[in-house]
């Protein structure tokens, strides 16, 4: 069995990332979604090891010291991070693992795991992003301006991603993401064992 592919999906708030992820996971049973650790308190109905791994500040900081995270950040007073152990367990079982994280975290992971597939999801245009944010009808102008500003900052790192996925149709974006991950399994760098075996069978030493 070959190792799973680690895919990191990022995108602007309003890119429709959540919808695409939900559809990918429901249509294709082969994916495992990474579970984050956090020091924030569980909300009603949240279960440890399902929505999050809930940790105390002390536990979390001990894990930081042990390099147990692929990435972590502190956000309004709470830590959030991706424990390497869960991801590696799934990858070693041959499961393709998906991390849905923001751009800074994504690039932290890429430094540790150069074979990770980085996918950035975007609406087709800036105007469409604003339209979607306004369309929710629940945000103040100020919140929308701040989201757009943040999107501008995030866009700075788009070029560091491997693939840019335009989400103008959820079905299509979902299938394109699925194809990207499937294709990654065929990368020569992931198939050194296969190449070695065929070479031996052809009587070439290696």
């Amino acid at each position: 069995m070959t190792k799973g592919v680690l895919t990191i999906v990022s995108g602007f708030a309003g890119s429709g990332k959540g919808t695409v992820m939900k559809q990918l996971l429901s249509r294709h049973g082969e994916y495992a979604l990474s579970i984050s650790a956090t020091t924030r308190k569980p909300r009603k109905g949240e279960r440890d090891g399902v929505e999050y791994f809930f940790k105390t500040k002390e536990e979390f900081e001990k894990m930081i010291g042990e390099h147990a995270f692929l990435e972590y950040a502190n956000y309004v007073g709470n830590y959030y991070g991706t424990p390497a152990s869960y991801v590696d367990e799934q990858l070693n079982l041959g499961k393709d693992v998906i991390l849905e994280i923001e751009v800074q975290g994504a690039l932290q992971v890429k430094k540790l795991r150069s074979d990770a597939l980085l996918v950035f999801l975007t609406p087709p245009s800036g105007a469409e992003l604003e339209r979607r944010l306004r369309g929710r009808g629940t945000e103040t102008d100020e919140v929308i301006r701040s989201r757009m500003r943040r999107a501008g900052e995030e866009s700075e790192l788009m070029s560091s991603y491997d693939y840019i996925l335009i989400n103008d149709d959820v079905d299509r974006a979902t299938e394109e993401l699925h194809n990207l991950i499937r294709s990654q399994h065929l990368a020569a760098s992931r198939n050194e064992e296969l190449i070695g075996r065929i070479r031996r069978e052809l009587g070439v030493c290696r």
Copy 2:
């Protein structure tokens, strides 16, 4: 319109490459197959600019001097080569172009066109390759041994390809190849214009 993707497909004799290529081109009308130039004489029914561009030795060598080939080789007394002009014409029209060439030529092209997608087609095992070569029932033992030896030599360069495609089912291999090429369109390196436009729309200078 964005530029087409240049894909180079190589594979052992007996890998089923011809069948996969035929199926890809008949199922998906969007691909252009590159046309080689050669100094060998046209066979009955072969038309200039369709099966080959037929050239005299002098014409071919003049083109070599003008760096007009993406790759070329001399094979039992005749030149064969891939004229860059035809490939570039098609790519600029937004067509995805496929080159079906052997390993040395493939790596020559990759040096000139680093964004070319290199795909190596292989049967699932060395034993299966031999079975397919024998299955044709038309070759002597000596020819089969020489084909297997050549496959061994070619396998040396498999790791230099971007993707390894196992052909154990023609339909599946065809769709995987199609997916690889489609995915390549989403590479961030091919979408700098899109990224720049979205950044401008988000009010970030670039």
